[in-house]
């Protein structure tokens, strides 16, 4: 449930395998899901800039990393060595 609070769509889930800009595959259900589909009960937040403790929003689609580098909320950060779950998130992931 907590995950569903911060995950607004399938593309925010760790189990989402992006196929293209419209859709992806769900690793759990093995089905095709749309990027903007609402999350299901199995969803787990994926690492993204918008969930990172170093992220501060500048406007809806742009933000700052550590207050010095421009970035964007949807940037996947699975490979970012600096990523840390934000303590603002209503989840135990931080």
């Amino acid at each position: 449930m907590l995950a569903q609070v911060i995950v607004r769509r399938c593309a925010d889930c760790e189990h989402f395998i992006p196929v293209d800009v419209f859709k992806g595959l769900c690793q759990v259900s093995k089905k095709t899901v749309l990027t903007d589909d609402p999350p299901c009960k199995d969803c787990t937040p994926a690492k993204k800039c918008k969930f990172c403790k170093h992220y501060s929003p500048r406007d809806e689609h742009l933000g700052m990393c550590k207050a010095k580098e421009i970035t964007y909320p949807e940037l996947a950060t699975k490979t970012c060595e600096m990523f840390g779950w934000s303590s603002d998130l209503p989840t135990g992931r931080n």
Binding site: I17, P18, D20, L25, L62, A76
Partner: protein
Amino acid sequence: MRDLYFETKSSASVEFPYWYTRRWNQLEGEIPIIRRAEALRHAFSHLTPTIFPGELLVMGRTLYLRGSYPMPWVSQSFILETGKRYEEAKQRGLAGEDVVKVAKGGGNVTQAIGNVISVAGKFGLRKEEYPILKEVTTSWDGKSVEDLSLKYERMVPNYETKEAIMRSLVCMYDSGYTLPQGREVISYYHPLQSGIDGMIQYCHGQIERVAGDPGTDGVNGMDRLYFYRAAATVLEGIKTWVLNYASEARRLASTETDLDQKNEYEEIASTLEWVSSKQPRIFREALQLAWVFHLAVLAEDNFSGLAPGRLGQILYPWWKQDMESGLLDRKKTLELLECIRMKFTEIDLFGPKMVIEGIQSGSTFNNVSLGGLTREGESAANELEMLMIEAGMTCETPQPTMTILYDERLPEEYLLKAVECNKTGTGYPAWVNNNVAMEFLLKNYGPEGMTLDDARAVAIGGCLQTAACAWAELKLNGKKYVIPRGGAAPATDVGVHFLNLPKVLELVLFDGLDQRTGQRVLPSHGSKLETYGELWETYKKYFREVVGILIRCNNVQHDVWRKVTPSVVNSMLKPDCLEKGMQIGMMGSRYNANFSVNICGGINLVNSLTSLKFNVYDNKKITLEELKEALRHNFGFKKAEEVGSYSLMDQVRLSHSWDRVHHLCMNAPKYGNDEPYADDILREWEEFYCSVVREYKSLFAKPLYALQLSVSTHGPMGAVNIATPDGRLHGTTLADASVSAYPGTDLNGPYALFNSATCFDHSNSQCTQMNLKIHPSAIKGREGSRKLLELIRSYMRKGGFHIQFNIVDSNMLRDAQAHPEKYRDLLVRVAGFTHYWVELPKPIQDEIIARTEYEELT
């Protein structure tokens, strides 16, 4: 995976440009090649790894299956498709943006849908990523290769003429900041022999050796230090990138419930972990590592046409050892080869629609060469290549396309296998004359030391460009082999590209004025064109003027490119860059005479000159003024754009006032019928063209060479040409290729066409191109296969360089045009490449339908 691909849309990602730009901006003041290498490492290290269920070979350009991304450090004016920058660019090198047609079918995203917007005409982008794309793109203003080139090109005398040439589409694009690399053969040798760690260690050793040592050259000697440092840096990024995929495979395996799939993920992880550092031991590892470096090279530049070369001969030692040890069998090999076909097909290239659609029709030209000769002059064909042809039949995909390097010594069974593949209708393999290719190489690269043995390593880069290659000794599991090392020269298809030859004739006839726009392109020639000789001399004068101004501007572009965004990945692979410590832009490659003048519409030019000579000068059936008036009035027809078809046969007549003149033009002798009247004009043109281009020099101070293929430029270039003296109408597509007949004008059968096409020496040009359309009934059964092989042999024996086929029923193509939803998987051959019918622009579809269809081969 093929089914998933058919459901997948072309998708743009901002990840790579974001991470690249972020690091670049942090390194203000650093030495350019180091700054670039750091930016590349940062981008590679941060790409999101995505693995799709069912894959055996993994890794892609982006997190999407069919993903690509812009490279604003090369060119950025087109990316956002709005604003003053874009409008200004369309007055110069991007003049074709408003002319080209983008196919709406297949994976193309040509309009916004929901939270997805369309960028650069055909790529989908998440709406929420547009602001960061804009930030990243505009941050390169004034710093990109495009912007810096424009700044310095303006210093070339008569620069305004260059802009007028581009604006009128006499020339199609600026290679220096559009596609600065590509149409070449990659070299996988270093990673396959040494592994990534071995390469890094080598670079570190060289850094110690060369730091502070000028060597024998006071300029390049000192540069070696930075090159080796850059290479090591990028290799570390590539290693991290591979390991990120391995981690993702382990993560997927840890949560996977299906046991078979779990094992697949585990095997993927093990393979990646091994090849992230060491020399591959087995065929699968070798294939995976080759793919890693193929992607890595594509990532460093706007690359079109990165050919794997003789992949089946390069990987043969691994395959042979695996087959002998029982680790592999034919079925498992075929599965891996089908997987690699899918990976190559997933490659997309992000660029201006004028280039991606107008020139390339969306193709990426990853051409595998098959056959040819060994270093010792024996047939180089092998069983793995037979399986590669088989995979091309069991997994019909546009990439990689294939080319047979035809030599009389290739086994009959092998050749018939390739013919069987042709008969599936996929359009591959193409057939290239190995001897002619070698002759060209020796003429062009002999002055740089190429020998006959070296020339035998030839492979095809891009669609059908003859590429200089090399041999290498491979040590594998205690055994030694000689294998093709891959491409030994940079991009084979850069320079003056593409020249619209009928448009130059239009300028000649109308004293330098573009009749479509009314603008002056070239200074008045002042000739009254009273004789054919005068006309021909004026044509040659204008051609020289165009090439002269374009190559100087092009040299500036490529010079800026090599200074601002030097090649690191491609350079470290190419012989002998790593050995010398020099990147390709500084002539680190073994061969460097790689720039050319590429043409389009040659057969329309020849037919037009023939018509002028026949009707106006020799027989005086019409006056030149009468003909020019007819051309201005499009012979009384509507323009193709108004009709909505770009084929001559569909055009609509408005007036009969010009019927007589049109009739005379249509009935003048035409190329392709073994008639000396037209063929002599072709020969005269070829002799002039192939020799005159060698008077001009590239930025490497080497002579240019002739290069004759159309790709898809005959669509947009036809669109900007008014009617031509051969009877072709305003806006209709030009003749494809370079020695194909204009549709419907080759009336005496294929052998007559071959005689016409080989009336000049093909080895004076880097390539020529012949497309033939044959009805499937003409080559049915085993007997039909032999007939087709004899046809190919006949052309090769006459000295033809290249031939390829559409073996298809034109009625089916008409049905596919009317009902594209029924033909998502239909592949056709265009001009040097195979592509999905539904992703081809309509002018090209119309032209393919109109091509002469041979119903018998006599």
